[in-house]
């Protein structure tokens, strides 16, 4: 096990590799979920935080936990930029998860608009974490635009279908030098573990927890799965699990010099 295995996003260090969503469930459960998940980052929809409600979500987030506001509700780059600025005004800090959807049915992200928003927000000093459809060219453009991480989706939001885009996420992990955080569609701890074994830097999950019978218990299960997957990745996986087969007799054994 390598020591000092930290997740570094935009110069900020984190011990935990589990990013917790805060939508879709009771605020009373947030504190317990954060504790049992061991999470240090929690996402927050600006549209949800934009409230006078006596029960503001911000009051339920313990100190020391980094807020990751998202731009959900944005349909293009311009709207995402406006929502990001509003997040800053609301006191949510400099982290921003760019989410731009032009489809209300599957909530699939629009990579082109996301690249544009990433560029504008990075220049304004935000730590930009773009949520994207796992496409290598788009990911490279986001890197060049100033992204701090890349957040590819595993399968459609809320579907709990796991790593439907496995091969394409692997390409991002292999080719992009920024942390690859798998976001959306992870429905079970085992799927989170698998993504971590592949070399993902962290996992973001929300619906899988929100819809569990015992939310804090599921948060703890995810935490352990993510830690296990990370350890497996760092250990150098055995050949059964690595990609491609290796023959027991060397294929190059015939070479004489």
């Amino acid at each position: 096990m390598k020591n000092n295995d930290k997740l570094i996003i935009g110069g900020h260090e984190f011990q935990s590799r589990f990013i917790l969503g805060s939508g879709k469930y009771s605020m009373k459960l947030i504190e317990a979920a954060i504790r049992d998940a061991g999470a240090e980052i929690i996402t927050l929809a600006v549209r949800r935080a934009n409230t006078k409600d006596q029960e503001s979500i911000l009051d339920h987030i313990p100190e020391g936990v980094t807020l990751l506001p998202n731009t959900s509700g944005a349909r293009n780059a311009q709207e995402a930029v406006r929502i990001a600025r509003l997040a800053r005004e609301l006191g949510c800090g400099n982290f921003i998860k760019v989410e731009i959807m032009r489809d209300t049915k599957y909530l699939l992200p629009d990579n082109q608009e996301t690249i544009k928003a990433t560029e504008i927000l990075a220049k304004e000093g935000f730590v930009v974490m773009p949520y994207m459809y796992p496409d290598l060219n788009a990911a490279r453009d986001m890197v060049n635009a100033g992204a701090a991480t890349i957040m590819p989706l595993a399968s459609p939001i809320g579907s709990n279908k796991g790593l439907a885009t496995r091969e394409f996420i692997q390409i991002l992990i292999d080719e992009i030098d920024l942390p690859i955080i798998v976001d959306a569609g992870i429905g079970r701890p085992s799927q989170a573990c698998e993504a971590m074994e592949m070399g993902a830097a962290a996992i973001m999950a929300n619906t899988a927890l929100a819809t569990a019978g015992d939310l804090p218990l599921m948060a703890a299960a995810f935490r352990q799965a993510i830690e296990a997957g990370r350890k497996a990745y760092l250990s150098g996986l055995g050949r059964v699990l690595t990609r491609g087969a290796s023959a027991s007799d060397p294929l190059t054994g015939f070479l004489r010099d």
């Binding site: 605020m27 409600d53 349909r75 709207e79 032009r102 209300t104 929300n206 619906t207």
Partner: protein, 417 residues
């Protein structure tokens, strides 16, 4: 069994009564319900044709238990599957449908429930829609709030904690013109995060104007998608023009609104066909405008002032529940609103299955929020209600009850951009 809608008021003049009776009894005295009136914008769209052809082919009695079984086994619900789920054959599967609906709701909405309240700012109406309390021949206290009165009502509602408001008027351009509604939207933006509109259908440029004034959601109920039945219920006025109403949501989206809401008024016609058409209206428009947010309501007929016998006929709570579950399974991503027309016990139950939004602190009258919210009686004039509500819970009570059902009440999930 039919509803008896025609009621004569002693306050009508002999000439008015004569005209009313003629409209009721002689179809040739009525204008065509399929012809646009001057000033009504016509848009090119094939959505209506698609919806109607599906609805006209639909024979609910043709579906069997096996069709329902197959529909429930599919991961993705096709139009054929949806037709089976709406059919009488699906009634014995209601509990299974509810389980499936609950799963879909929780995947898309988690454990949240949205709260809102309507604000009626005027009840003048130029139409004779025989089932509606605001109809022009119904003798009720008419009223239109001025801007000062609107602001006063808004303050009272905002003080209760509400953050989403739905502004409504009777359907009278003469009494409540677009400018007046626009000014109400501007006021509403001061007090609420989200402003929706349920007014008479307007043209694209007028929706654009209202959007600029702060409104972002438009609700238009088609009442019934059965054009012949529609003709016999909407006897006079611009609302009689069925196709102009049908295209209202599409014009609203073209005018820049973020979202649109749809509904048939269940009990007016064959509710299974109307439910099919309502959902397909959403389905086809979503394919054309994939960025738009869509929601469905599912109102049933209610008693009105001067006619307390009006009821939803064959649409019992069981049938309503079936329709709502079928909506959820077919369109897992859409919002479903259940209004205060339904009882507290029905609403408490349905939010755990499929509904994502409920109203609270509701009045369908005009200018009466102060007395209803604070109990303070004043001498100010009031306008009568559109229909009788059933669930009269305040925002505080609803918030507490929804929390008690294990749900997270959400007052706002929206940013105006």
């Amino acid at each position: 069994m039919e509803n008896q809608f025609f009621v004569d008021s002693e306050h009508l003049s002999p000439a008015a009564l004569e005209k009313k009776h003629l409209l009721e009894t002689d179809p040739s005295s009525r204008k065509s319900h399929m012809e646009y009136l001057p000033g009504m914008e016509v848009i090119e769209s094939d959505v209506c044709r698609q919806v109607l052809s599906q609805m006209e082919d639909y024979d609910p009695s043709a579906y069997t238990a096996q069709d329902v079984r197959t529909a429930l086994d599919h991961d993705t619900c096709s139009i054929e599957d949806f037709k089976a789920l709406l059919s009488p054959a699906a009634e014995p599967f209601l509990e299974e449908m509810a389980q499936r609906a609950r799963m879909e709701t929780s995947k898309h909405f988690g454990n949240t429930v949205y709260l809102f309240t309507p604000l009626y700012i005027a009840n003048y109406c130029e139409n004779y829609c025989v089932y509606c309390g605001f109809n022009c021949y119904n003798h009720i206290r008419r009223m239109k709030l001025d801007l000062e009165q609107i602001e006063h009502e808004m303050q009272i509602i905002a003080d209760s904690g509400m953050e989403e408001i739905l502004l409504l008027t009777g359907e009278s351009r003469a009494q409540s013109d677009v400018q007046y509604i626009g000014e109400a939207c501007k006021l509403a933006r001061k007090y609420f995060r989200l402003v929706g509109l349920e007014i008479y259908p307007v043209n694209t440029d007028e929706y654009q104007y209202l959007h600029q004034c702060g409104a972002d959601y438009v609700t238009v109920f088609q009442e019934t998608y059965d054009r012949d039945r529609y003709e016999s219920l909407h006897l006079q006025g611009h609302k009689r023009v069925w196709p102009y109403r049908f295209d209202a949501q599409e014009r609203a989206l073209r005018g820049g609104m973020r979202g649109v809401a749809f509904s048939a008024l269940l009990g007016l016609s064959d509710f299974r066909k109307d439910a099919l058409a309502s959902a397909l209206h959403v389905y086809y428009l979503q394919r054309k405008y994939p960025h738009a947010e869509m929601s469905l309501s599912c109102p049933r007929l209610r008693p009105i002032i001067n006619n307390d016998k009006i009821n939803p006929l064959d649409v019992g709570e069981t049938q309503l529940c079936q329709v709502i579950c079928a909506y959820r399974i077919f369109l897992p991503f859409v919002g479903i609103t259940v209004s205060s027309r339904e009882s507290a016990s029905f609403r408490n139950g349905i939010v755990k299955i499929a509904a994502t939004k409920v109203s609270a602190g509701v009045s369908t009258g005009i200018g009466d929020h102060e007395s209803k919210y604070t109990g303070k009686e004043d001498d100010a004039a009031k306008g009568d209600e559109q229909f009788e509500i059933d669930d009269d819970r305040s925002l505080d009570t609803m918030y507490r009850d929804m929390s008690g059902e294990g749900l997270q009440p959400v007052l706002n999930d929206y940013v105006y951009v």
